[in-house]
């Protein structure tokens, strides 16, 4: 067992609150979005109707999930106007803030897989099956091919992401078993297996955010003391190295990988305040 916990230095240096700021904001965002959806069925307060596939806020703002709509388009169906307006808004939003912001700030499965990661740490479970991080793109391609070939939105039959969110709002049924399977996959089979390796929803949103302007940037990378806490806490640790250690290779400090989820945990756990949110533009080394 390691004797020091991740982020201990940051807590000592900045205090507990400052070293959990983005985590708290993120949990608030995840739970608030879920609460908005659930206020209707639970309390009769209809601010938001629907679920993450499509929702109507205050009977005026349509929001459509582009991934499910793309699958629908591939079956040969053209949606109605509201569905198209909704998808334009969502595409613009995630293009601006980073595609995988969906994963870390909105998606309810993130709570499940973060829970699994936390428990994995507590139980000291190490290693596991090797899954390629590129697998998600294969799965993404597969879901699109199957949609086109079968003429149905086949992935939605088993998608744990929509099953959990829809289940919480419209009745869970046995969807809990599929969510539990994702939890156990992350806990025992492979670290961060679902969100970091398999999930095609995340893969889709990563492509959407490939050129997003909002990025985490290692602006004070000279101050890095190699404590490795950011690598340990990051759900996609491979994205950090080029930005943090790329000064010699003349690579700019902004994390440009589309798989960075902009969760901001690296900002939290760094005692030297190396990271902060910044922009892609003007990303020059030095």
């Amino acid at each position: 067992m390691n004797t020091r916990t991740i982020g201990a230095e940051a807590i000592a240096e900045k205090g507990w609150f400052s070293s959990h700021k983005w985590l708290i904001l993120r949990r608030f965002s995840q739970l608030a979005i879920l609460a908005l959806f659930m206020l209707g069925p639970l309390a009769g307060l209809w601010i938001v109707k629907g679920n993450l596939a499509y929702s109507l806020t205050l009977n005026i703002l349509p929001l459509t999930d582009p991934y499910v709509l793309l699958q629908s388009l591939l079956t040969g169906h053209i949606p109605e106007k509201l569905g198209l307006i909704g998808v334009a808004i969502i595409l613009a939003f995630y293009f601006l803030v980073g595609g995988r912001v969906y994963c870390s700030w909105v998606c309810p499965v993130n709570l499940v897989t973060d829970g699994a990661a936390w428990m994995r740490g507590r139980l000291g479970i190490k290693g596991g099956a090797q899954i390629s991080r590129k697998m998600r793109y294969w799965v993404l391609a597969m879901t699109l091919v199957v949609a086109g070939a079968s003429g149905t939105i086949a992935w939605e039959l088993i998608n744990p992401v929509s099953m959990l969110h829809r289940g919480l709002i419209f009745g869970l049924g046995t969807a809990w078993a599929i969510v539990l399977a994702v939890f156990l996959l992350d806990l025992f089979v492979s670290q961060k297996a679902w969100c970091g390796h398999v999930c095609p929803v995340g893969a889709f949103y990563s492509l959407l955010g490939k050129w997003s302007p909002l990025r985490v940037s290692a602006v004070k990378r000279d101050a890095c003391n190699d404590c490795m806490d950011c690598f340990a806490v990051c759900p996609e640790p491979q994205v950090i190295r080029p930005a943090l250690k790329g000064a010699k290779q003349n690579i700019g400090p902004a994390i440009l990988s589309p798989n960075c989820t902009n969760c901001g945990r690296c900002i939290d756990v760094c005692s030297k305040d190396v990271f902060r949110f910044g922009l892609r533009s003007g990303n020059k080394a030095g």
Partner: protein
């Protein structure tokens, strides 16, 4: 020299590893995709008693168009719709209702269709009486009380299109020899499949049920012509009555053979 200090052997090994990893991932995903395709094929079969909301596209198209948002469920004022859970035999997350539990109330403004963002519920449907959610079929002539000669009439009376979608057809009651039977008769051009008749049927198990139109309807051979209708269209008989050979009618033979 490409700047790396790898030996050719190491390069070959890493290429080998790359190809193996690629094959592993491709096979895994391929298997998942194959399984998913088979499951999707199974899921296209909607169980007969699960009815889609008004205006729903034909089932395979519906499953390509419905993104499972549940807005139709939310905007149904009578809460009759539900989204299928994974353990139900309806495609996961898609809306349906079961008439025997709660039938469609046939709202004039059809809010469920208006709410649909994709047109899986076809926005061209503006008159609820033109909807075709299914077709009522009087499936059991042995238990239907009207067929037994009673005057139940409940399905007929509850029908939102009374005397159009369901009529009562009088027929001589051979059992008593002196009464009439009033047989509930469904007319497919008027029936919307709302399911009120099935819900209202007083039997333990409904004798009248809503079936998918495909299951409920027969189809005439496309070359069939109904003589009496052709005659009406033409305004006269289409055959030359003069030249019809009228075969002699056979006299019934006496029963005792004499």
């Amino acid at each position: 020299m490409d700047g790396s200090n790898k030996t050719p052997g190491a390069k070959q090994a890493s290429r080998r590893q790359f190809l193996i990893d690629m094959a592993k991932t491709a096979c895994g995903v391929g298997l998942l995709g194959g399984g998913l395709s088979l499951y999707a094929k199974q899921a296209k079969a909607l169980p007969p008693l699960a009815i889609r909301p008004p205006g729903a596209l034909a089932e395979p198209d519906f499953q390509g168009a419905c993104i499972r948002c549940g807005l139709c469920v939310r905007d149904c004022p009578y809460n009759i719709l539900e989204l299928a859970k994974p353990e139900q035999r309806v495609a996961t997350g898609t809306p349906f209702f079961v008439a025997r539990n709660l039938p469609c109330e046939m709202c004039e403004d059809i809010p469920c269709v208006k709410a649909c963002p994709t047109g899986a519920l076809d926005h061209a449907l503006t008159d609820i009486y033109k909807s075709k959610m299914g077709l009522a079929v009087l499936v059991d002539h042995e238990t239907c009380l009207n067929f037994l000669g009673l005057r139940c009439d409940v399905c007929y009376r509850i029908c939102p299109s009374i005397d159009k979608a369901i009529t009562l057809e009088p027929l001589h009651n051979l059992r008593t020899g002196k009464h009439a039977m009033f047989l509930p008769t469904v007319h497919s051009d008027q029936c919307t499949g709302c399911g009120k008749c099935e819900k209202a049927c007083v039997l333990e198990e409904a004798a009248i049920k809503i079936y998918p139109i495909k299951l409920a309807k027969g189809e005439l051979g496309h070359h069939y012509r109904l003589g009496w209708e052709e005659k009406k269209k033409a305004g006269r008989s289409l055959i030359d009555d003069q030249n019809i050979i009228d075969l002699p009618d056979r006299m019934p033979e006496p029963e005792d053979g004499k």
